[in-house]
Amino acid sequence: MSKAGVVHPKPSMKSVLLRGSFIIMALYIALYVVYVVQQPRALGAGAIASLFNNTVPLALASAGQAIVVLSRGFDLSLAGVVSITNVVMAVYPLEGPGGALASLAICLAIGAVVGAVNGWLVAYLRIQAIAATLATMIVCQGVALLILDAPGGTVAEWVSYELTDRIFNFIPVSGLILGAVVCLWLLARKTDFGIALYAIGADEHAARLSGIPVLKVRFFAFVLAGMIYGLAGYMLSAQTATGSPTAGEPLLMLSFAAVALGGTSLSGGKGGLFASVMGAATLMLLQKVLFSSGVSSFYTGIFQGAVLIIAVMFSALLTRLGERKNK
């Protein structure tokens, strides 16, 4: 039996399109076209940068959430981590580029600590993810209130200016940071950790029998997610330039919406981080489009929810069509 005798067919075009983030990309582009038609100025570098600045906190929060969801988990501590990092940034501003770097390290460390607690509770003590992270979220919110009991404070000037600016008057810094996170993820998903993350999300038992260190992977999924929330809080502070002990709360539910909108299965093992980032971007762009269409902001939630249901139903429909073709 010669090896050359067997040629396996390449995957079909359709299955490539169905995979990953194609649907959400298409949705985003369609929405962007609508936006540009309404607001021709939206193509300017300044408008694009401001869109990025608006999007990045939620996009990063959703990216972290996506990692936990891929491992078949839930992470509510997001709201707590973003709030703590935001108030720390506002109460203890560190000036200059060095200060910004130190602040970044602090934010990442806060996220890593909270993530480690989550991971320990969920992976090693086997507490349900929703209960464990609910508890850490409540604790974190309490800590945030201790640091700053009412909205106020000022974020370091260097952070709030430089991180919302453009390089060469064109490339938004926040976009670069988001891009860096996405690129790191694309590398990470090719490591043992990334492969294991998908494996334990799809079938934890089989993964264990295949020799994957399930508990360790689950633990580090929470730690990594926590660090990304820390980064989200850092970027949120740059954008708002002030602190609020409840800054993270609006991001929590929207992060789940973004993950689902990006086609990542809430039952784990399917989807990705980039698609969730695009889901977040779509939700934020939808807000802008509605605003520029003159729709009262009170309706924003209704539209976001409706888009979510339609997108999830649509992707389920496409998956079913794809499966039928395969049989």
């Binding site: 039996m1 090896k3 005798g5 067997v6 396996h8 067919p9 995957p11 590398l187 090719k190 490591t191 043992d192 950790f193 492969i195 294991a196 998908y198 494996a199 999300g201 799809a202 079938d203 038992h205 089989a206 993964a207 264990r208 029998l209 295949s210 020799g211 994957i212 260190p213 093992g269 399917k270 395969n326």
Partner: protein, 518 residues
């Protein structure tokens, strides 16, 4: 020939893996009491036993998935005590699991190489190298036709089983454990060829299968487990099938029928099932008469679950008809099953997940199906519940003081009593009981048996499945044996004995008959 003594025999006899007095308990449940087994290099050794004899626990211990509580294991003369599957694999002991350990959303290649995916630079895995190694691995085992790039979930079950075996073969330098490797393989040529080349390399193979014909074809020796203990290790050339069945079942003269059948021979059947097919189940036809207790005996996964779930309205049947009191009924939900003719009530398999409503009292649990009949103006008082539940509980000897307890706080035995009281309370004249005494103590078993007998004596019909053969021998008026989805044999009255049942359950009768026909 009984194996005894804790000494470690010399490697010169070709002994690869020796297991001495290994045991494992989960809380009060003893999964494996004391198992001894010796595997020789280059030999295929079979592990035989009924359901629950401890086979899978022993496999898990050898595979490194479970750490034993006691006992000693030696691999090639050195102590062997793997704490994880990876550790076992590092010592060249590898297992193909019955439930398949492939991750569905990873590619064939990734699955074959887990947990060590080849790297290109740094920690980044190399897709090209992964593919290359996987295809050369597939080629070595004559499976070039499987594309290493596709996701495992898109493969048919038989190919997944082959991959599971390939992965085990690849990592088994010393010991290869195959747990039901032919469960989804239609033919054994490929597998037996691979086992042959493994034994040629001096690998010791442990082969677990309930198909005795297969075992005789490939294995030289067999170890029989019963109730978590090693009964004997025999040479398969010298032991007859009857010897093996006897070792699997044991001589238990005390389990004989102690009551006369209350079946009404001349009455029209209460339940008549015609060519029912669904899932594994193929073309099942049978009748249950009023007053009759009909048992179903089968190994795991032979279609008994589909049969019960179809009759209970939990699964739609693919084809076939169900007649109750000579009238055809379509049963699409448990509620319809209760209302179909004289009614069918179902006792589910999983007490914790399908049966009890843990937070509610035992009394409420019993009266759930009849709430509408005991309510006054749609309101149900606690007293009304207790009054209605009391007599039903008494039928299964459920002590009255337990009625007010939350059922989740009761022992497993009392929970099961309450659930049987619930099926009795429905007033249905046909009961479907799926493993009614699973995991309950002896006293509770007797109470359940008398409740079932009393129900039959009052003219009710019972269809029950049990994983315990003595129970079937004691209770059943008739017993059908399911094998690979078909009713292969029906035993009646005193013809129901454990050895006969076991022979039919492992397909021995069916294959013997096939041979006779050829």
């Amino acid at each position: 020939m009984l194996i005894s003594g804790a000494c470690v025999p010399a490697i010169s006899e070709g002994l690869e893996l020796s297991v001495v007095r290994v045991g494992k308990s989960y809380g009060a449940t003893v999964a494996l009491e004391q198992a001894d087994i010796n595997l020789r290099a280059g030999e295929v050794h079979s592990l035989l036993g009924e359901n629950g004899a401890g086979k899978s626990t022993l496999v898990r211990i050898l595979a490194g998935a479970v750490v034993p509580d006691c006992g000693v294991m030696h691999l090639h003369g050195a102590p062997y005590r793997p704490m994880s599957i990876t550790e076992a694999r590092d010592q060249q002991v590898s297992t193909a699991f019955q439930e398949l350990s492939l991750v569905p959303n990873l590619s064939v290649a990734q699955n074959l190489l887990l947990p060590r995916i080849p790297k290109s630079v740094f920690f980044i895995s190399s897709a090209a190298e992964t593919m290359r190694r996987a295809s050369s691995m597939l080629a070595r085992y004559d499976l070039e036709r499987i594309d290493p790039a596709i996701e495992v979930s898109s493969l048919p079950l038989a190919d997944r089983q082959r991959l599971e075996i390939v992965r085990a073969l690849e990592n088994a330098g010393r010991v290869l454990i195959l747990d039901e490797p032919t469960a989804s393989l239609a033919e054994t040529d490929w597998l037996f060829g691979q086992i042959g080349s493994a034994t040629d390399r001096g690998v010791a193979v442990l082969y677990i299968s309930h198909r005795l014909a297969e075992v005789r074809e490939i294995c030289q020796r067999a170890t029989v487990l019963r109730n978590g203990r090693t009964i004997a290790t025999v040479s398969l050339k010298e032991a007859s099938n009857d010897d093996i069945f006897e070792m699997m079942v044991g001589r238990r003269d005390d389990h004989v029928r102690k009551h006369a059948s209350s079946a009404l021979k001349d009455a029209a059947p209460r339940l008549s099932v015609k060519s029912l097919s669904n899932g594994v189940l193929v073309d099942a036809s049978f009748n249950v008469r009023p007053g009759e207790i009909l048992a179903v005996a089968a190994l795991e996964g032979q279609g008994q679950r589909s049969l019960f779930r179809c009759l209970a309205g939990l699964e739609p049947a693919k084809s076939g008809s169900i007649e109750i009191d000579s009238r055809e009924h379509s049963i699409s939900s448990p509620r319809k099953a209760l209302k179909a003719g004289s009614g069918i009530a179902y006792l589910p398999e999983e007490r914790k997940t399908e049966g009890i409503l843990a937070g509610l009292s035992a009394a409420t649990n019993i009266v759930v199906p009849i709430l509408s009949t005991i309510s006054t103006a749609r309101l149900v008082g606690q007293n009304a519940e207790a009054e209605a539940a009391g007599p039903e509980g008494a039928k299964v000897e459920l002590s009255e003081r337990y009625l007010s307890f939350a059922i989740g706080d009761l022992s497993g035995g009392n929970q099961q009593k309450a659930l049987i009281a619930r099926t009795l309370a429905t007033g249905a004249r046909t009961l479907l009981l799926f493993d009614p005494t699973r995991g309950v103590d002896v006293g509770t078993k007797q109470a359940i048996y008398s409740a079932i007998r009393a129900f039959a004596a009052s003219g009710g019909s019972v269809l029950f499945y049990s994983s315990e053969l003595p129970e079937i021998v004691q209770l059943a008026d008739r017993c059908m044996v399911l094998y690979q989805g078909k009713i292969v044999e029906t035993f009646e009255g005193s013809a129901i004995d454990e050895q006969g049942l076991v022979a039919a359950m492992i397909g021995h009768r069916a294959t013997a008959r096939l041979r006779a026909m050829q």
